[in-house]
């Protein structure tokens, strides 16, 4: 079955509303270049925020998010309509983040000082002296990549276990386990701030 037949077969069941991603993608594949802007407009903030939380810093967000959408632009005609567009988009985003982290890790090996400069500040005596959300963000940044990304996809992006498994190309059981381990680790990291978080 060719792509077009596949698309026609899938679309009637998949399209719930006219502004569904599949319909927009179909328009783009049919030659309507402006349809791509709709997809960007819909998902850019989710992508930017996912990159921000995954990397834990703001420097490379713009570059990476643009690279994500350029990849989408180049590969959209290969989209199979077998999973949600967002799952596919997040997979690209995660891969780009991982590439970036890998480069940063290699770079840090050759830099005179380790990159381990950011530490969670000691709990202050008064609650108003620090930002809880900043503490959580820094705690998330402390998690290993393989635990941080599933946790963010679940709790921040709101993806289901199945969608995370597809985006990460791992088993559902592994997703469940990694999210649990991420929470457990985060719980221990944020132990000193427990009273303020709960």
């Amino acid at each position: 079955m060719n792509k077009k037949e596949n698309l026609d077969k899938v679309l009637p069941q998949q399209i719930i509303t006219l502004d569904d991603d599949f319909a927009v993608i179909k328009r783009f594949i049919d030659g309507e270049q402006s349809a791509f802007k709709i997809l960007v407009s819909r998902h850019k903030e989710k992508v930017r925020n996912l990159i921000y939380l995954t990397l834990g810093q703001t420097d490379a967000i713009d570059d990476i998010s643009q690279e994500v959408f350029i990849s989408v632009y180049r590969k959209l005609h290969l989209f199979r309509f077998e999973s949600q567009f967002t799952t596919w988009l997040y997979r690209i985003t995660i891969n780009k983040c991982r590439d970036h982290l890998r480069k940063m890790k290699i770079k840090s090996l050759f830099s005179p000082f380790s990159q381990d400069d950011e530490n969670i500040p000691a709990p202050p005596s008064k609650v108003e002296d620090f930002d809880v959300q900043e503490i959580v963000k820094q705690g998330i940044a402390k998690l290993p990549d393989k635990l941080r990304i599933p946790l963010l996809l679940k709790d921040f992006e709101g993806l289901s276990y199945i969608e995370i498994a597809e985006a990460e190309k791992i088993e559902i059981g592994t997703v469940k386990s990694r999210i649990f381990r991420a929470r457990e680790m985060l719980r221990k990291i944020l132990e000193p701030y427990k009273k303020d978080l709960l």
Binding site: L109, R187, L198
Partner: protein
């Protein structure tokens, strides 16, 4: 009561709605009845809410504009690459084509070169005629050929072919312009020195002229400007010289009175040479305007003799009409060309001068049986020992390495080590204060993990260990093989000694 790891995972999955009905009922019951379960549940819920309520980045209003501009730039740059890198693309495609071609047909180039060489050799070896068509071989010319090592190939240009053997006994072939050397040993001198009678002169003439046809059919030319010289020509040269000297010896017992010593000594060697020469050798050396090569050709001697007979019937002026003169005029810088196809000839090219040397054939030494000297065995033993030392040395070097770091306090006042990658030194010449000794690789790993504590390092370390184990196995195998070889060598050496003793006794 402590909560099991499995139950903790179930609580986590419960808040995500990722449990089966049974599991969900179990966890709900536990949360409802156990304070500890409830505490963990509350903490997980709080964490989930904390993560989900993290603030988003401020919206980037110009994101689409910048993205679309970048996409359009990428599109045009792709087109630019196609247009500007066209030669590169062509080259790449050509390379891929050649790779595929060579994969399917690995001998393509060798075959093509061989085919080209064959075609060239075929072109230059066709329709060869005797040299007599180009130059009139009289008795003086044949005498010159025998004693002065030159033979005319073109009277009008004065080109001669010099061939003979040098002081080292190496045959050479040289094309050059004739030089009147007053020290040359001429036929007149030969006759006058021996005081030959007219009858004896005729006998000498007949000896010389009897070789005329042989020389003419062993130096061939054709209209393609090729000169083909049979390797037998040196044998004929020696044969003529020997015949004349033998005749001279008959006439005068003291031949050395009028002949130079060099000629006498050369002629003694010639006798042996002639007897060893295969006169049916059809291997010809080709000198052409393009190349030099040797080739086995089937010479139809009857046809050549017929050509010769026809030519001789004509007088000299008519022969000129049939002249086929090899007009070899190669203008190249003076250089030495090593002939690849035949490593037994050496070609010298300089202006219009071509010199070809046949190399002396080296007979390989016949090996003694068995041929293992004690020195060689010892050398191997030494290398085995030194190999051990080298390995140990290398391992020691790896054990002793250094790096430096600084202690830095964080905001909490906690001290942390900061590693300087460029300070890492392995091996010798490390200041003592920076030296560390690690007894085991594991302890080294422990130190490294302090600085590179991620899964990538661990993975690489595992791979390193596997590689080292593999290397160790290979070294053990090599060592076993070397020991076996050493034992066999010793055994062989003992046998040699026995053989030598027995041989001496027989003598």
């Amino acid at each position: 009561m402590s909560i099991s790891y499995k139950d903790l995972e179930k609580i986590s999955a419960y808040i995500d709605g990722g449990l089966s009905d049974t599991e969900r009922a179990y966890i709900e019951e536990r949360i409802a009845t156990s304070k500890e379960y409830k505490k963990i549940y509350d903490e997980y819920v709080a964490l989930k809410q904390s993560v989900s309520s993290l603030p988003s980045l401020p919206e980037d209003l110009y994101f689409e504009t910048r993205l679309m501009q970048r996409i359009s730039e990428e599109k045009s740059s792709f087109l630019k690459i196609i247009l500007t890198k066209k030669p590169v693309l062509v080259f790449t495609l050509l390379t891929i084509f050649l790779m595929l071609l060579l994969r399917e047909y690995p001998d393509f180039f060798n075959d093509s070169i061989n085919e080209g060489q064959k075609n060239l050799a075929a072109f230059y070896s066709q329709n060869l005629k005797p040299l007599v068509f180009a130059a009139d071989l009289n008795k003086e010319a044949i005498f010159d050929f025998a004693f002065n090592q030159t033979i005319p190939i073109n009277e009008s240009t004065g080109q001669v072919l010099a061939l003979g053997r040098d002081k080292d006994g190496k045959e050479f072939l040289e094309m050059k312009f004739s030089e009147n050397n007053p020290s040359d040993f001429k036929l007149d001198h030969f006759i006058s020195s021996l005081n030959l009678t007219p009858e004896q002169e005729k006998e000498v003439d007949s000896i010389l002229l009897s070789y005329s046809d042989d020389i003419a059919t062993n130096i061939l030319v054709n209209e393609n400007n090729a000169l083909a010289v049979s390797k037998n020509i040196w044998s004929y040269q020696n044969a003529i010289r020997t015949d004349l000297l033998q005749y001279a010896a008959k006439i005068s017992k003291d031949v050395s009175k009028f002949l130079h010593k060099d000629i006498i000594s050369l002629s003694n060697d010639d006798k042996k040479f002639i007897s060893m020469t295969d006169k049916e050798n059809n291997n010809f050396i080709f000198i052409t305007p393009d190349t030099f090569f040797t080739k086995q050709i089937d010479v139809d001697k009857k046809l050549l003799e017929k050509d010769l007979f026809t030519a001789k019937k004509l007088d000299k002026s008519n022969r000129t009409v049939l002249n086929i003169v090899p007009n070899i005029n190669i203008n190249v810088k003076k250089r030495t060309v090593e002939a690849n196809a035949d490593n037994d000839i050496k070609v010298f090219v300089g202006g219009n001068n071509i010199k070809i040397e046949l190399r002396k054939i080296e007979i390989p030494p016949i090996p003694n049986v068995p041929n293992i000297s004690s020195n060689e065995t010892q050398a191997v033993v030494v290398s085995i020992d030194s190999l051990d030392e080298m390995i140990e040395d290398a391992v020691n070097k790896f054990k002793a390495f250094s790096f430096s770091w600084t202690e830095k306090e964080n905001k909490k006042g906690k001290k942390k080590n900061h590693f300087f990658m460029d300070s890492l030194k392995i091996g010798e010449n490390i200041p003592k204060e920076f030296q560390f000794e690690f007894k085991k690789l594991d302890s080294l790993q422990h130190y490294l993990n302090r600085f590179f504590s991620d899964s990538l390092t661990n993975y690489n370390w595992k791979e390193w260990n596997e590689n080292m184990q593999q290397f160790q196995k290979e070294m053990e195998k090599f060592r076993e093989e070397m020991n076996l070889w050493r034992k066999e060598s010793e055994k062989q050496k003992q046998q040699n000694k026995k053989t030598e003793i027995k041989f001496n006794l027989e003598i």
